[in-house]
């Protein structure tokens, strides 16, 4: 059984590396180093291998490319790829939680325009999202909303039900290509209700409106920058059944914990390091569901 863990930023990489170090150290450990980023052990008649891919980069495209590269180059294929990273919580109370990503909506395609005052541009920019990529429009246009990326292993439609074997909750993701620090707005109202779909007037929405639109469906919502790219490339590579995304909510939209607190603590790093125990539990269950009864 071969599992790859992918991390994006330095704090996530640190948490994953420390998990690998703890596994491979301390006598007697059956784990052995196989290069700087991988460990392996024999387990019964099987061999377990755990490899860390530290990207030190972020974004839907970068994460998707990393996934594509692994599956193009790795032979035999990894049985599972676990993406481990932080996320922004839409609800402040959701900070400090862990979630498996069930589906990812892409909240990114839009427009940047100058903010002009009486015809003069003073350097301000207005960023909006074209709602045709998010919802069905009235009258219809030449585009359809982008279908969300769905992870079968975390939505009861894959060969293994990961939330059931781990007890971890699932959440949806609004995948952006920017760090969003605006609060949730008011969800736009439909012009005509469904079925089959609610129909909206063609408009450019603010991030606040778009996030409120996605958040309107039940269940926790996180904001991050990779899961949509991961899901779409995994689908194209026919490896959706191998991919799990584990997210730690380290920030809220308007209060990012990434900054060091007055007492000198980096709360994002702290939470990610703490949640490596959850990552370890997930890995244990993927290697051997019988472990940790």
């Amino acid at each position: 059984m071969r599992i790859g863990v992918v991390s994006f930023n330095e704090n996530e990489a640190f948490a994953v590396d420390s998990l690998l170090s703890d596994l491979a150290s301390g006598a007697p450990s059956p784990w052995r180093r196989e290069g700087p980023q991988a460990i392996a052990r024999d387990y019964g008649t099987d061999t377990w291998r755990l490899e860390h891919f530290s990207l030190l980069a972020q974004g839907n495209v970068v994460a998707a490319a990393a996934l594509a590269a692994q599956f193009a180059a790795t032979n035999p294929k990894l049985n599972f790829v676990v993406f481990y990273g932080c996320a922004g919580a839409v609800e402040p109370l959701d900070v400090g939680e862990v979630f498996l990503v069930q589906r990812a909506h892409y909240v990114s395609l839009g427009k940047v325009a100058p903010i002009e005052t009486e015809g003069d541009w003073e350097g301000g920019e207005l960023v909006t999202l074209k709602n045709k990529w998010l919802c069905h429009l009235l009258p219809p246009v030449d585009a359809e909303p982008l279908a969300p990326g769905v992870f079968p292993l975390c939505s009861k439609s894959g060969p293994v039900d990961v939330p059931a074997i781990t007890g971890l909750p699932t959440a949806r993701v609004a995948a952006t290509d920017k760090v969003v620090t605006v609060p949730l707005g008011v969800a736009p109202e439909a012009e005509e209700p469904g079925p089959p779909h609610d129909l909206y007037e063609k408009k450019e929405w603010t991030y606040g409106e778009a996030l409120a639109f996605v958040a309107a469906t039940a269940g926790p919502l996180m904001v991050e920058m990779e899961s949509f790219g991961i899901a779409r490339v995994a689908e194209a590579l026919d490896i959706l059944d191998r991919v799990v995304v584990l997210r730690v909510t380290t920030d809220t939209l308007v209060d990012h914990n990434r900054t060091v607190t007055p007492t000198g603590e980096d709360r994002q790093r702290e939470l990610l390091l703490q949640a490596r125990g959850v990552l370890g539990f997930l890995l244990a269950k993927l290697y051997e569901p019988g472990l940790l009864q």
Binding site: M1, D22, L23, G26, S29, P30, W31, Y43, G44, T45, D46, T47, P76, N79, G96, E97, V98, F99, H136, P140, V141, D142, A143, E144, A147, P152, K156, S157, G158, P159, V160, D161, A164, G167, L168, P169, R232, E235, A236, D238, L240, D241, R242, V248, L271, Q274, R276, G277, V278, G280, F281, A284, L286, Y287, E288, P289, G290, L291, L292, Q293
Partner: protein, 323 residues
Amino acid sequence: MRIDAFLVQHPEAETLAALKSPGPGAPPPAPDVARLISQQRDSQMQTLARAMVGPRLEGDFAEAAADRERPRREPRPRKLRDPRKASGLFLATCAQAGAVLRSLDLSDVDDADRALGSLLVLVSLAIEAPRERQEHRSRWREVAAEAEQLRAMVGFGRTPFGAVLTPMLLEALSYGEMMVGWMVGELSGGLGDETGRRNLERWTRRTIREGAARLEELSASALERIEEEEPASAPETEESYRPARESLELSLAGERTAVDRFLNLVEKELEVARIERDIRWEPELTTVRIWSYVPLPRKRLIRLASEAGVAIVERGGGTTLPG
């Protein structure tokens, strides 16, 4: 779930200790194992539906943009994938589940779960690297024997191996029309319009056949490797073994009943050893491979095609019309 609450339930020290445990310990309770197997069984149709079509591509949307007179409001029709590719993807996902089940004890779950669990493990072992497979050969032998026994137990209306693997296993014998009809109904939700649905029945049959062939291949190849390590048994006598060396590939156009009629006629020819149906996916065509002991005269095949009412489509694109 809050991180600290999760870690109270599952302390990190315990997780690390479990990951460092010397080897498989006490088996998990049977209900847990049964749940894992049931999940695979219950997700088979969804897995096949995912394998049925290729990835979503935004080029599909560009195609719609060109048709501005009639903007689409419904999901776009999606092309069905090559059945060989689809069945391969489906079995790869079975192997995924098999890899998770491999170290678990299946002896305490009920017959149906054990049957499916064993088959998944079998597929998983067979797909992995040969070196690793040899290390598991004793278990492979047991699993292969168990799957072979259970195959005989499967009857109409029972799908212990799941909605997709059961017809794949039964393909060697035959599989029920009702089963295929039900599968087509389940899969059709993933397609956009009637164009896709028209081909879906044929696609489902071919995917089942391709899956059956792949299962057979996995099983045979693994067994062969085991047998290579054992003392060679007595060679078969000339009388009992007569290889059919000649093969001929034909693409047939016509109604399914006419194609069946043609193949029945060909099968009755003394020189013919066996016929492999649907060896490749071609829209509106049935492609077969005919194995025979000596080359089959072309004129005779054309006469039989004419008699049955099918056309043999030439590789170059021409058509030999019957009559």
